[in-house]
């Protein structure tokens, strides 16, 4: 949601589906391929991480790489807070969340069950209600 909103604020058009599931080549955010490769490697913490780190530094500098590392770390923590507690999507985000879920297939995640209103909205959208 905030990816779309923040991109619109600087007149960038982004491909949310590529951001969430693709290789990043068509996202529409500068250096998205290197950022996604680094994010994936940092998630796995495997042998690919040092190379992904160096490639990101070559693209956007060390401070940018550190910012990406900070972000993936804090969002892993936020994801744990969200799904260990079972929070539902906030009321004011339901409409856009339903559209983004349809675009990215995120409604197939098991944690979508924590927000039943989104499934209802998706059903309504499919049936033109």
């Amino acid at each position: 949601m905030l990816l779309s909103s923040s991109s619109a604020a600087i007149d960038e058009t982004i491909n949310v589906s590529d951001a969430v599931t693709g290789d990043g080549s068509d996202v529409g955010v500068p250096y998205s391929e290197q950022l996604i490769t680094f994010t994936e490697a940092a998630h796995r913490v495997d042998d690919s991480l040092p190379v992904a780190r160096e490639n990101l530094i070559a693209a956007i500098g060390e401070k940018g790489m550190i910012d990406a590392a900070i972000t993936t770390a804090v969002f892993r923590s936020l994801n744990i807070a969200a799904d260990s507690s079972g929070i539902r999507i906030d009321d004011e985000w339901e409409e856009i969340a339903a559209h983004l879920a349809m675009e990215t297939a995120a409604d197939e995640f098991s944690t979508a069950a924590n927000s039943p209103n989104i499934q209802n909205r998706i059903h309504s959208i499919h049936h033109g209600q």
Partner: protein, 224 residues
């Protein structure tokens, strides 16, 4: 040398100070766990991260609920589910855990996990050594449960969200640890600019930040 000083020069003072505040409290008695138990939870997070693909906790009912250890095998299994298999936690698993250890202990356990993961995962991503865990301090848990909790936001009872995102109050049953968790979030993510779509306080643009955030959440299969 104070904890996290090797990160000075790489991270902002606000981030390092937020890490030090977390470390100062990690080994102290909490609301429902002793200092030794809290460090036991942190140790279990560390020992299970990074998770090997073939490692699955499986059915919680298969784990012993009592032992002579600081944490029972059951509690260790809950820590590993929260840390590494969070998206598998549904109402049924939540109910199983709550019926065994209670919601106060579960909320504090999860809040401790979130703090250790945020800090350790950053060190891992940067290729730096993890900070040694602090020594536990003696003392009894305070047995505090905050008032004013509501149902309907999460499986867990929470404070009312008011104008905050639900994730901000998600673990508010563990009030003090949730506050420290949100201190990390403020330092590592939004600063005071969450509502602003153009950020000046980060080295990446906000769309670049949100790209990394969206991909991380997808990898963790977090719908929220």
């Amino acid at each position: 040398m104070k904890p996290f000083e090797p990160l000075q020069g790489k991270l902002s003072t606000e981030i390092i100070e937020s890490f030090q505040i977390v470390w100062d409290h990690l080994g102290l008695p909490g609301s429902w766990w002793t200092g030794k138990e809290r460090i036991g939870i942190a140790s279990e997070v560390r020992q299970s991260n990074p998770r090997k693909l073939w490692e699955k906790v499986g059915e919680l009912e298969n784990y012993d609920k009592d032992s002579g250890e600081i944490l029972s095998p059951y509690v260790k299994a809950v820590v590993r589910i929260v840390a590494n298999e969070t998206s598998n936690i549904d109402q049924q698993i939540y109910d199983e855990i709550i019926n065994t250890i209670g919601d106060d202990k579960y909320a504090e356990l999860a809040a401790v996990v979130t703090q250790v993961v945020a800090i350790d995962h950053l060190c891992d991503a940067l290729g730096m050594e993890r900070e040694p865990l602090p020594d536990p301090k003696e003392g009894d848990p305070r047995l505090e449960r905050p008032g004013g909790l509501v149902d309907g936001v999460a499986f867990l009872p929470t404070f009312t969200a008011d104008n905050l995102p639900h994730v901000a109050v998600s673990l508010s049953l563990a009030q003090a640890d949730n506050a420290r968790r949100m201190l990390l979030v403020r330092a590592m993510y939004s600063g005071s600019s969450f509502g602003e779509m153009i950020w000046e306080h980060r080295n990446l643009t906000r769309p670049q930040i949100e790209l990394v955030a969206a991909r991380t959440s997808a990898l963790n299969e977090c719908f929220y």
